[in-house]
Amino acid sequence: MFDSLKKRLNQFKDSISKQENELDEAEFENADVTATNKGAEEARSERQSLDATRPLGQDPDKPQLQSARSLKERDTSAVAKQGTSKAFFEREIKQKDLEEPLWELEMALLESDVAMSVTEGIVRTVSDDLVGKKRKWRQDVGGLVNDALRDGIERVLDVNGLDFDSFIQRAAKPVTIVFTGINGTGKTTTIAKIAHRLKFQGYSIVLAAGDTYRAGALEQIERHAENLGVKLIKHQQGADPAAVIYDAVQYARAKHKDVVLADTAGRIHTNVNLMNQLKKIERVINADLVIFVDEALAGNDAVERALQFNTAMPIDGSILTKVDADSKGGAAISIARATGKPILFLGVGQGYEDIIKFDPEWLINRLLEEEST
């Protein structure tokens, strides 16, 4: 995941560097052609001002040293003349010059399944950060661009920093966690994985069979509960999911269990009634955490559905599934942006242990590290 994006981000950096250097060259040439005679005069006056401002007996700082040295050379040869102006050369990065590379950046993000609106946000941040930056002759822009990209992606990904493990540790028990999402994203499998993880950490778990709609959902979660050796609270098919989850919480209270993991039926976010059902669950249960589950295969629509689910039942964090079948990963960025909440875990396979913690800092570092190899 994210390999192709990383490659493209590096291309973006390279193309800006290259272009800016070419622009330097071009502008410098221009200046030379139009003001050949001015050069010498400028140099003279520069020298005067330098001499005037440089405190005697004190070590001159680097640029001044460079300038002084080149000034000296300039007096003697034409080649050195160029060097002088270069030393004083400073050029602003302009919006106009960035258009092409920024378009490339936009394509790169879109290609990685980052949704359009989110992509535009990142591109804007990067552009705002870069435009107007002054840079010296041939100064490497890599660092500037890197900072801008980091800023752009961090703003999207590094949201409120909820740490799942420490949250569970600190929260009053039982902790109730409700999982939501559209059909077929892998909610039930994810619940089983989280249950496995928490159980390994020493917590006692209760599962709530809140998907009372889909045929076979009961059997599925029953099998997981059996395999993991955890308690399952269920009603019949067609029962009120809020009631099932409520019972599970009551059970956990009575038996002093630590965590309740509540499943819900998949629903399409445009279905008003089913979204209202989520609101009801929220009212009745008042869960400690609401986790939105979506798949890494999702494209632009990831944003819209995350927004809709977040409205019905405010999301505290998201889990991205089927990452093993995906090589792009942009959905993670889209969903984090849309919900303003962190991605907590990634589902990376069929086994119970196939879930890994998501760390935005790690991801950003990985995305932005130089491709040295």
């Binding site: 290609e111 359009m116 609106s117 045929a215 995906d326």
Partner: protein, 439 residues
């Protein structure tokens, strides 16, 4: 929100060039970028978008401008033609005896679509039957058998068997007197080699005439790769796009058919077994580009429901009774989510934005109005004037609403009646303009 912005920005760019005689290089690049944006945010494959924009640029700068079309129409026309070419011919299903195999990724909606398709053939007067060859997902058997029972379609499955190939063999044999046999399979993705092998086995046994890939409309850049793998395994004859009742644009489906060189057969847009629509490239493309298309709306209204000619006449004459309103509401109900319909209206260009809440409440209001009208007699529906306070009380009690609510409904009806008169005069105006050659 996002999507509407997109449509708007494409529309704005196109609008700017509408009156230009020639399109210069710079404008053309701008337009193409907007088109790229529209396609990419609809999840069309990036490589495909790049290919497309090259084609569009080439054609727009070399082709002779037709005298009939202004530059804007010219470009839209090129885009449209290129997209249609990618979409391939819509898959036409023969109404003869045949076998259909349904395949797809996990969670794409195969089982629901299988039932919808069985229902489709049934409505066309064919005897359809379904085989459940999904031996993996717990409950798949029950889900499909229940759906079949609901629509009176024959079903074959073996609850305990784990051998999908065997089940298919038995099923096809057992159901051979039926006209159309649909074989539903388990979800799988391209990397699961064992399951791909099983799918090949099922296909060999079933000797299916149609092999449909069921594809979630929300899928992103992976769509073409997955489709390619399915095609290589069994040779797809068509794609069915599902969950279009959500907000996804379905660009993944376009990429998929472009990749494997087949067409889209149907689209699924709803939960009931009747929510299967034939694929229409025009409509699909305008959704893809985010360009509202009033024509589409008109078509939808014309298609549904069977409003009799004289009914329509009556509506336009101003005798817009409660019965007419009821039919109209049914028609709107069948057109799917109001959000979708509103998307097709050129509201964006008028600067009107309808908040989501309003759309939802409108839909609920319509539903409740229908309930209230169900409590009215024929006479009342035909002649709303006879409804006085005692009738209002009765209707309110019958439909479980307040008397005020019934009055509100009657008020709404009056407004609609007036509006319909407006429509009539508008139509006449249009006719007049047409005669004058002004439109």
């Amino acid at each position: 929100m996002v999507l509407e912005n997109l449509g708007t920005s494409l529309r704005d760019t196109l609008k700017r060039i509408a009156r230009a005689n020639r399109i210069d290089e710079k404008t053309l690049s701008e337009v193409i970028r907007e088109i790229q944006r529209a396609l990419l945010s609809a999840d069309v494959n990036v490589a495909l978008v790049q290919h497309l924009s090259r084609r569009i640029k080439e054609r727009a700068s070399t082709e002779q401008l037709s005298e009939k079309l202004n530059p804007r129409q010219q470009i839209v026309n090129i885009v449209y033609q290129e997209l249609v070419a990618l979409l391939g011919d819509p898959v036409k299903l023969p109404l003869t005896r045949h076998i259909v195999l349904m395949v797809g990724l996990q969670g794409s909606g195969k089982t629901t679509t299988t039932a919808k398709l069985a229902r489709y053939f049934q409505k066309k007067g064919l005897k359809s039957a379904v085989v459940c060859a999904d031996t993996y997902r717990p409950g798949a058997y029950d889900q499909l058998s229940q759906l079949c029972e609901r629509i009176n379609v024959a079903f074959y499955g073996e609850r305990e068997s784990r051998n999908a190939i065997e089940i298919t063999a038995h099923g096809v044999e057992q159901l051979k007197r039926y006209d159309v046999i649909l074989v539903d399979t388990a979800g799988r993705h391209a990397l699961e080699s064992e399951l791909v092998l099983e799918m090949k086995g099922i296909n060999d046994i079933a000797r299916a005439d149609q092999r449909f890939l069921v594809l979630d409309s929300g899928i992103g850049q992976q769509a073409s790769e997955q489709a390619k793998a399915f095609d290589e395994a069994i040779g797809l004859t068509g794609v069915i796009v599902t969950k279009l009742d959500g907000t996804a644009k379905g660009g993944g489906a376009l990429s998929a058919v472009a990749e494997v060189g087949t067409g889209i057969a149907f689209i699924g847009a709803g939960e009931t077994v009747d929510d299967l629509e034939k694929f229409e490239p025009d409509r699909f493309i305008s959704r893809l580009l985010g360009m509202g298309d009033i024509q589409t709306l008109v078509e939808m209204i014309e298609e549904e429901p069977p409003i009799e000619a004289e009914d329509a006449e009556a509506m336009l004459k101003g005798d817009f009774t409660l019965k007419d309103m009821y039919k109209q509401m049914q028609a709107i109900g069948k057109m799917g989510p109001l959000r979708k319909i509103v998307q097709m209206l050129p509201l964006g260009s008028l600067g009107v934005e309808i908040p989501d809440d309003a759309l939802e409440s409108t839909k609920e209001t319509l539903e409740r109005f229908k309930v209230v009208m169900d409590s009215m007699t024929d006479e009342e529906l035909e002649h709303p004037r006879v409804i006085r306070s005692s009738r209002i009380k009765r209707i309110a009690r019958g439909s479980g609403v307040s008397a005020d609510y019934v009055r509100e409904l009657l008020k709404y009806h009056k407004t609609m009646q007036k509006a319909m008169k407006g429509v009539r005069s508008q139509k006449e105006m249009q006719k007049f303009l047409k005669r004058q050659g002004l439109q």
